[in-house]
Amino acid sequence: MSFDAEAADPRVVIGEGLTKRYGDGVAAVDALRGVSVSFDSGTLTAIMGPSGSGKSTLMHLLAGLDTPSSGEVWLGGTRLGELDEGGRTRLRRNRVGFVFQQFNLLPMLTVAENIMLPVRIAGREIHDEWLDWLLVAIGLEARREARPAELSGGEQQRVSLARALISRPAIVFADEPTGNLDSRGTEVILTMLRRAVDDLGQTIAIITHDPLAAARADRILYLQDGLIVQETGRMSPGAILDTVKTLR
């Protein structure tokens, strides 16, 4: 499959026939058993599935954190299989944003410094207006000099989101971004993820267990035993819960 007409093609990330096997012989575990998936620009996709279904492995492969046993990943027009570890690292820092469930921020850096970190590591110019815009958007412009330890869990996760957006990546992967948050914190983060898609045209994929989170997505992928077993459009939390139940 060729992928040279980037402007015309709405797909920013494509995975083709991805498999991932850990270990050898009888002890081998197939985490992914042939997944093909793509993400359109400016959409919010939720990836759901029980523990061990391969959600995280899929994200790792799509984000260039790990290499597939077979299959190919195109990220923003680049075939990941062509890159070495250094190339994948550079691609990650320029084209991918991450929000993790925990241990997200560096304790010695301030809010603003944490947000700027990927750009600093990449050695690129920082646009102060963009930083200021993000700080306002996450509602922490008054706390830009605060350290992570002085923030609540929800506030820390908002900083992570801003950090994921700072380099205007092709895609943001959010791995259980609400897993450690209370209901109010969850609500705030989900709203912000949605706004990033709607207002900035950002492409986002979130991995989640939470039907409430998945209900904000434009599209929901259900994974089970290393395969995509169902794909739906936007659904209510109740319908999502029902779908999950039918899959079990």
Partner: protein
């Protein structure tokens, strides 16, 4: 429950614990190694003296090295209860090999001793028999093997007589001191050395039944110049006398053991502080699961015990190897430490184990105790990386600052206000210096914060930090936990500070002595015995034959007791010719005092004069060989670092007081300058061909020899300190590698969001370098400050402050180099961090 958990956790974290245990092992190895070395050195000296007294019950010797008249031997033999009483003589000898070359001395000058009956001697006959008659000798086995001598061979020896041949009739075991040994019959040795019937000492063995009161009965018939001591107390007296003369060595070793203890303790404590964050997390989980405080603390203690025992045992094994290395270094520098295997005293091992396990337990228990103080949930939050409130940090910093200033100020006052004798002042310098160092340790975290914010606020720093994140990330990480950073560098700081202080002290001594030597020794050429042996008087005639000699003057030396003082060196010089080869640095008196020096007058070196409270015009009493007392008037006081220490007499009087001292210590010659110095030296060497064991030296060689005599021990201390610095740098590396392990999550996150492996390695390298630079800079400042104080306090000694540029540069380059080296392993580990494992949330 907790026990099982702890043990399982230990297994899970075995890599980190292995590193911690290695660091503990390093600290323990340093401590126990120094203790083993100290014990070994002491025991060697003790053995040496025990040997010199043989297996006798009572040893009779002249006071202060005087000879014992032969008549005393016969008198002692008649004392009831005495089984055997034998006179013993011990003199220096030069052994000439079959090739005609002198057999080089081993460790100390070769020695000729008189034969003793087997029951009084530690020297055993291996083959042949004891020498009898004038031309028979026995020789030690090592020397015999070296030269291929067997019973029946002939050896050439230079005794008190010109070189002549003797027949080897026996091979004996070597002296414990490691010296080469030649055994003569007593009468033969007395006549060869012109001693008449006198002996150096008498060894007495009592009948088994007569031990009590024996020594009292012997003492009753001894002349005043002669004393009798039980062998045991005589040995300990000799050991303490030598200990005094080696006091700077002993003191240095003790100080070094203390430093090693401090550095080792700091390193061990640091290990646990670094891993505390991780362990704190686990402990918080345990607390949340309902573990009691007791269980938490015991879990911490089990881990500490595990690491402490493993590390301490390994350290105790490595310690003797360390000691062996130090011993080798000492041997390499040529200082005559006695031979003998390592002495492994249980105390050295016990102290090493106690230190390692004790410090590990304390260091492991503290985070556990801290964890129990907070409520479970709070503990979890603290463990998750929350920092204490700003107000509390400020209060802590303020208290820390006050304490540090108080310690440093007190230390400086103690140093600068010290008074009294040299030793007292040096001691107070040590105490003051220790206070300053402890103050610097307390101030460490403040210094780190200060340096950190200084770097952060340097012009352009912000821009640079934005452009290049890696170094500033490293700096920010170090400043985040200034206590940990300071601890990591603490051992390096102490090492550098001490190295510099000692460096300045050595440099000052060397400058002082070399100035003195260059000013005082005017002679162009000198003749000396190799290995410090004496020179036969005939060489003067040979030397006179050398063309171009303008002046020639001889020096004789011995020892005598001066007033209350124990043995002091005594020199005999010819007042008229001596001024041609030597210039006195007068404290009191003038060259007229030398020119007019007559029997009954002496010149005294200023150190001796100060110790005895002597000034020009004082009346002194010299107790000389045979216990005779000689009264003298002090005609002048001079300063001399190396050649003429103690008391100087006119040669004519010296010869009367010390008739046994036939041979010369040295001959100094002044050239008229018609031929070049090297031509004269060559022709002097030719003229001295018939005198094996005699060496000719030129002026710079003379100065070098005198200097090395003055500085030998201090330089060894210096070598030890360099070793400390090297080992403390290892400590920095260990700390760094632990810190990488403890931060695998953070590094994983950085890698995930785009830090390349190269950048990760660079960040670790920056951390290492910055830690080392801060520590080395603090150490440099502290060390120079301490050194200035020491020199200031000891300036009456003629000590001058010489900026030790070589040391400074070596320290800076060494710190930088090893900081980079220390970062290699941890840096590699940082690049291999498993990103997926680090960011996994399960």
């Amino acid at each position: 429950m907790t026990r099982a958990f702890t043990l399982r956790a230990l297994i899970l974290r075995r890599q980190r614990l292995a590193v911690a245990a290695l660091v503990v092992a390093f600290g323990v190895a340093t401590v126990s190694g120094v203790l083993v070395f100290t014990d070994t050195t002491r025991t060697d000296f003790q053995k040496l003296f025990a040997h010199s007294a043989g297996r006798a019950a009572v040893v009779i010797s002249g006071r202060d090295g005087a000879l014992v008249p032969g008549a005393v031997v016969r008198r002692v033999r008649r004392v009831p209860g005495v089984a055997v009483a034998v006179g013993e003589v011990s003199q220096s000898v030069t052994i000439v090999g079959p090739s005609g070359a002198v057999v080089p001395a081993a460790r100390q000058a070769s020695v000729a001793v008189s034969a003793l009956p087997q029951r009084l001697s530690d020297v055993r006959v291996i083959s042949g028999h004891q020498p009898r008659g004038l031309d028979q000798v026995a020789i030690d086995a090592q020397t015999a093997r070296l030269e291929g001598w067997i019973v029946g061979s002939h050896v050439k020896l230079l005794t008190g007589q010109p070189l002549r041949s003797f027949r080897v009739v026996g091979i004996v075991t070597r002296a414990l001191s490691g010296q080469r040994l030649v055994v003569f019959g007593l009468a033969a040795e007395q006549s060869l050395y012109g001693l008449g019937k006198s002996v150096d000492s008498i060894l007495v063995a009592g009948r088994r039944t007569a031990a009590p009161g024996l020594i009292g009965r012997i003492r009753k018939l001894l002349p005043a110049s002669v004393s009798a001591e039980p062998r045991a107390s005589q040995v300990s007296a000799q050991v303490s006398q030598v200990s005094a003369s080696f006091s700077s060595l002993n003191g240095g070793l003790e100080a070094f053991a203390l430093i090693a203890l401090l550095i080792g303790g700091l390193t061990i404590f640091n290990t646990f502080s670094i891993t505390a964050a991780q362990r704190g997390n686990e402990l918080a989980v345990l607390r949340a699961l309902g573990a009691t405080r007791g269980q938490i603390v015991s879990a911490g203690l089990i881990e500490g015990l595990f690491v402490g025992v493993a590390g301490a045992v390994l350290g105790v094994v490595l310690g003797p190897l360390f000691a062996l290395t130090v011993h080798r270094i000492f041997e390499g520098t040529g200082v005559g430490l006695p031979a003998g295997g390592l002495v492994l005293r249980p105390s050295a091992i016990a102290i090493g184990l106690l230190v390692g396990i004790g410090v590990a337990l304390v260091a492991a228990a503290l985070p556990a105790l801290r964890a129990t103080r907070a409520a479970p949930i709070e503990a979890l939050r603290v463990a998750a990386g929350e920092r204490p409130r700003v107000g509390r940090v400020r209060l802590e910093s303020a208290l820390r600052g006050v304490l540090a200033l108080a310690l440093i100020g007190n230390g400086l006052l103690v140093m600068l206000l010290s008074s009294g004798s040299d030793a007292e002042r040096l001691r107070r310098c040590g105490i003051g210096g220790a206070l300053v160092l402890i103050g610097m340790l307390v101030a460490g975290p403040l210094v780190v914060s200060g340096v950190g914010s200084l770097l952060a606020h340097m012009p352009g720093a912000r821009r640079r930090a934005l452009r290049n994140a890696v170094p500033s990330l490293a700096r920010e990480h170090l400043v985040l936990n200034p206590g940990r950073t300071a601890l990591s560098g603490a051992s390096l700081m102490i090492g550098v500070a001490l190295a510099l202080a000692i460096g300045v002290y050595v440099g000052g001594l060397r400058a002082a002595s070399s100035r003195a030597i260059n000013q005082t020794v005017l002679g162009d050429l000198a003749i000396e015995g190799s290995g410090g042996a004496a020179v036969p008087a005939d060489v003067v005639r040979a030397a006179t034959a050398v063309p171009d000699v303008a002046a020639i003057s001889t020096l004789k030396t011995t020892h005598a007791s001066l007033d209350a003082l124990a043995s002091v060196p005594v020199a005999g010089i010819d007042p008229t010719s001596w001024s041609d080869v030597y210039r006195f640095e007068w404290v009191q008196g003038s060259s007229a005092s030398l020119a007019n020096l007559v029997p009954g007058e002496v010149l005294v070196e200023s150190d001796t004069a100060r110790a005895d409270g002597i000034t020009k015009g004082s009346h002194i009493t010299l107790t000389v060989s045979g216990g005779r007392q000689a009264q003298a008037v002090v005609a002048g006081v001079y300063r001399d670092a190396g050649l003429l220490r103690g008391v100087t007499l006119p040669l004519a009087w010296f010869n009367r007081l010390f008739p046994a001292q036939q041979r010369l210590q040295a001959v100094f010659m002044k050239l008229s300058g018609v031929v070049s110095n090297s031509v004269a030296l060559a022709s002097l060497r030719r003229a001295l061909a018939p005198f094996p064991g005699v060496v000719a030296r030129n002026q710079s060689q003379i100065a070098g020899r005198l200097r090395s005599r003055a500085n030998g021990v201090v330089e060894l201390l210096y070598a030890l300190l360099v070793l400390t610095v090297a080992m403390s740098l290892l400590g920095v590396g260990g700390a760094l590698s632990l810190s990488v392990q403890a931060r695998s999550q953070e590094l994983g996150l950085l890698r995930a969001i785009g830090m390349t492996p190269v950048q990760a390695r660079k960040m670790i390298r920056s951390e290492s370098t910055l830690t080392a630079v801060i520590a080395a800079a603090s150490g440099l400042g502290t060390g120079l400050g301490l050194a200035w104080c020491v020199v200031h306090v000891l300036r009456v000694e003629g000590l001058v402050f010489v900026m030790p540029w070589v040391t400074v540069i070596a320290v800076v380059l060494g710190s930088a180099a090893v900081a980079l080296l220390a970062a290699v392993g941890p840096g590699r580990r940082a690049t291999r961090i498993d990103v997926l494992a680090a960011i996994a949330h399960e």
